[in-house]
Symmetry: D2
Subunit: 401 residues, 4 copies
């Protein structure tokens, strides 16, 4: 039944889909239910209330859409914008590229602000555009909070500051797919208008739920946005929210119960503690990379990502061989380099329900693979660097003290 | 963790989502995996090959889309048609109504052919339209194979015959959500151009996968169709089919393994045997309704549905009370009457992984509920009628002989 | 993976192992854990406290033994008695027979009081023995509360009354395997010294845990009992109870979590409501048997069992054919007739996590099977009789009102 | 529901119960079944046939007993020996001690041959006893293949050689609880008469099944052995083996399916490859211990165990603090030192379904814990030593090449 089974656990370090904790797997281990019975609306009500907490919003309206991150993007765009609308979008890696591709195919006029892969969003370029846009033709700024392809985290507070500085009313649409629940994110404080993530990322669930949250301003925009949409139309949800039955079409019963447990686990650990854990694991990974004498694809410290690290391999090595070898010999799943950085980087995803020793196991595996493919890393060097940091920073598990 | 738990098993007789067999629940009870490793493409390849069998097609191209039936509708329409295209669509109940609503919101010009709820598609009206359409302005005929709201199965072979009779090139787009894997369906033989279903129906899986199959003619239409689409764009899939990696965005690992097992179970039982089982259970249900002295919402025998029976209650009873009582007292989940037939009918879904005694348990429950709400049914009467038919027709379980 | 799979759910109506509710299956769906970490003792502590409630004892000492009912029997006997001890034991069916066989092989001197199969314990014979036993040579009275082979429930309060009447100090050892959690049982009130059950019976868990509870008098006896025992020795448990680590050897982590959930479900429904539900289902089953014109193996109403009904088939039918046919054609699992009643009775188990419609589905299946094997039952007759009773007595599900 | 939950996976490195692979967890995720239907005997038949392979026997008779290792011990002894029989038993650690305690309480006359903890069985002492025993009063030699408390593997071939040398007919009873399926074991070749293991050890299942295998000579002994036994009596099994129904009492349906999958996984990997993997992991662990400058409790290389390593801590450290800290801070479960070595050693279990990176994660955790408790280990040193060995010896995963 399992294709290509290997002994022991698979070490899953792609930047998504990520490890699902046992309690979530258990919660989803169930038969279907009638979603029109009183039970599912009662459950949904708690989810919609609680999911706002992961966005740090009190005024936002959340949508749990049976789709992936790509669908969540489409939901964000088509509900707030009309064909021909001018938007500004940052191209800094493969996922921002794909979102821009979607924006263009959805017939928006996209001002692409490109950075070298490995660098963050060019905010100076944004400033120039805002400066020039006295007539407010820019309807939205689209930004990927954390570019999963290069391990770059953008500064959203700075984007807000710029907009405020220019008193520019553009909507801010944020892809938080690989940041929300892992990297500090503050929807209300940063004036984000639409934020979105996918269930298979830091929420540590299976794929299949796009979680989108809209600010009051975005909800207002949705009333007049002319983009054609049906499946992704928020209005269909709102109609059922009012009825108290919540669902315009059949949700996955399993994902609803899974989300309930995923949120319970996050809140039990404490969202701030979860973010601190990601920070700890991210830093440890970067220290290992440094100890190996390799370069981080991310070019500046303030862009370093706490959910994924893209490691640059020496020119004489094909990073795809690293990924292949890791999987074929050590049951370790790493992320490939994509598009412009294909063959040049491999990626270590360190997000979701993950702890220190899992990461150290992965790092020890990377060391062996690097040796296997011909890079003369000193075995144990990265693990030592990472462990030193982890030992200094890892708290006791609260429930066990 | 379970909202409103009741002792014993829930008797799930809504027409979707339906009961998931244990082997499928087991197959889905797993951690995430890297979908870019060789394992998932290898699995996907078998799925794409085997899923064609449930459509009875050899020439079709299947798509496994992370969405619901509503999304599958949108996929069928936007990939084959352009805004402004004229289409003919039959309105015979709530689900055909919703599809038409989608068609209109997607900017197609829809000729709606309406029937009284409880009747099938008006093929004479279609004939008139085809007759009149010498210039072939009709680009597609959209038809719901089985209208889940009223328990009406349309005659798809007759639609094909009409089109052929008029040598009309319109595409035939079929909603097979509550028919495929349960009611005889022959994509190639009937010249269906796009057929679709959802995982939570007769495939007996959780919600979350829209399964769409396109004929070569539909694939050709997809090359020029101008409807705006990204998430639902078949071309994005085709690109990855060619690469052999299959997925333009992250699939649900769990649903892939679930589908593998669901298909294995269907093939082990034999698709024709599965359809015969649905026919047996459908007939038994209708005999029970007759024995109770109640009317089937479906007005003519040739429209009777083998997957859902809509039962008309006497005017002095509110069918919503039947559904509520069934759930509140007997842990039995029945389907509500929707829209025009709200309060007037309740629905018994008898599709998916279900056997004779499960149905008889449900029917005995309906009898008790009917008495509870004031309808003087003779307890055991419907069960007896159904059982008589089942005893005559149920084969031995092949693996146990 | 499943041997002899059939479509739809298996209808499990053997008197054990019984249906496991989904929440228990979920709770057990987990990896192993270190049973010496603080987590497992913390869990065990709650179990030992709560399990006393199902015995209705406050003074008893419970043991959760990794064994089956047969092992639990051995635990009860060897911990309280010495080889050569005289005991009185009632033989009324296959399970009491097996226990007596065990008693004899463990070298106790057993006064067997035999009844015709289908009759309860002969308490008059016990009275005579107690009357004659002025010197208190009888060390224990062993009685099966509910004989699973014949569907006979014995009157434990009467046994206590007799012993008290004669001021006889004999221990009372009770097999409550098919009664506890289903039929009224009161350890303290009835002066039971050792009571026992198995996890796969009314607790609705997998097989593997023998649950034994000992009165202070039994615990006292355990100090001097000379029967050879190691695996089953309570003293080994007591040593670890004192240490607070609870386990002399490795327990099943999964069964511990399963028991936690099983108890939670019982308490949520309310133990008295659970017993009332069994009473309701038992009575309904007997009414069906009567309606079919068949005889209950149990010969007197006050012995009727609420957990299992042994149905006598006409002489021209082999009851094994009923069982075989039920399984082969209808995916219905019934209990065989055992030993003296082999071929003559089949058994319907109606214990554990079960509701009204599940039972009615079973009864409709039995009707079809009876017709299949040549007994001219009127289809629907038993269902009608059972449903009439159930409709009058089934309460609303508390959590759903 | 989970007591003391921590983020990420628990790193389970106690020497049992061990990690259960996902396919086994899945296989056990199921409702109960009638164990008297044809399905369970059909399944059992394959298990009894295949389980012989893990003992490397063709002539042995296997028993799958619903019990733990302690029960399996009792089964081995009571079925082959009579009270008062003289046996020779080696005391080399806590588990051999417990078995000897059982042997004495079961009324055998035990010649205990004691070794210092950390040393293997004293075969010279055995030789002397055999030499002296011309009249063959020694009925059995009892030996723990792998002493889990000290990480000592005994040389069974040498025991056989001794017996053969003296032409001594004593039975050889072997506790293979922490060796079988992990360390080379050859029942037939080494003339072992009873061998046993538990499901929660190298088979990587939950606790609950004692797996015992008896040679023809042991089966012959069972015919005349006078030890009192019922639950553990092989004869009760044999009776049902003959009937083809296999079970004298209710087995755990879940464990049967779990065993089926556990065996399938073992055979897919190849039993010899499984043993090689354990050898690789054992050696790697010992190299790490050496690199840390710590001593192995096992005093000689030829006794080194490939399933568990007992690490001696410096006198100024309490090994219980290592275990507590590992669990409380790093979600790492290590084994305590037991009895004579309590406080002095902690144990790393490296048996069952486990791979290289899991072990390296554990070793990196041990390093951090050692530093936490005040031992000045160089972080990364043990990981480096272990990784160097693993990188040289780990094969590609066969199914992935």
């Amino acid at each position: 039944m399992d294709f290509v089974y290997g002994p022991g656990k698979n070490h899953l370090f792609v930047p998504g889909p990520v490890n699902i904790p046992e309690p979530v797997i258990r919660a989803m281990n169930r038969n279907n239910e009638d979603y029109r019975s009183p039970a599912i609306p009662a459950l949904t009500k708690t989810l919609l209330e609680d999911v706002k907490k992961i966005f740090k919003t009190t005024s936002g309206t959340p949508f749990l859409i049976p789709t992936t991150g790509t669908g969540a993007w489409e939901s964000a765009l088509t509900n707030t914008l009309s064909p021909g609308d001018r938007i500004v979008s940052f191209l800094i890696g493969q996922f921002s590229l794909l979102w821009i591709d979607q924006q263009q195919r959805l017939n928006f006029r996209v001002d692409v602000i490109e950075s070298e892969w490995g660098r963050g969003a060019d905010l100076d370029a944004l400033a120039s555009k805002l400066e020039a846009d006295r007539s407010h033709t820019i309807k939205a700024v689209c930004i990927v909070h954390n570019e999963t392809a290069t391990g770059v985290t953008n500064d959203l507070a700075a984007v807000r500051k710029l907009l405020d500085g220019y008193r520019h009313p553009a909507l801010v649409l944020v892809d938080g797919v690989s940041s929300i629940c892992a990297i500090d994110f503050r929807m209300d404080e940063w004036g984000v208008d639409v934020a979105l993530t996918g269930s298979q990322k830091a929420l540590s669930m299976p794929t299949g739920m796009g979680i989108v949250c809209a600010s009051p301003k975005a909800m207002e925009a949705a009333k007049t946005a002319k983009s054609v949409r049906v499946f992704f139309d928020w209005n269909d949800y709102l109609k059922f929210y009012k009825l108290g039955t919540f669902w315009p079409y059949t949700p996955s019963i399993q994902l609803l119960y899974g989300l309930r447990t995923a949120l319970d686990l996050l809140f039990e650990e404490g969202l701030d503690n979860v973010i601190a854990r990601h920070s700890r694991l991210g830093k440890a990974t970067r220290l290992a990379v440094e100890a190996w004498g390799l370069k981080n694809c991310t070019q500046r410290e303030d862009w370093f990502s706490d959910t994924v690290t893209a490691v640059v391999v020496p020119p004489y090595i094909n990073s795809a061989d690293v990924v292949k070898r890791a999987w074929t010999r050590y049951n370790l799943s790493l992320g490939l380099g994509l598009n412009k950085v294909a063959g040049k980087v491999f990626r270590i995803g360190h997000l979701g329900n993950l702890n220190e020793l899992q990461l150290l196991g992965c790092l020890s595996g990377v060391e062996m693979v690097l040796r296997d493919v011909g890079y003369p890393v000193k075995l144990g060097s990265g693990v030592a660097a990472a462990a030193a940091h982890l030992r200094n920073t890892t708290p006791m598990i609260t429930s066990r003290i």
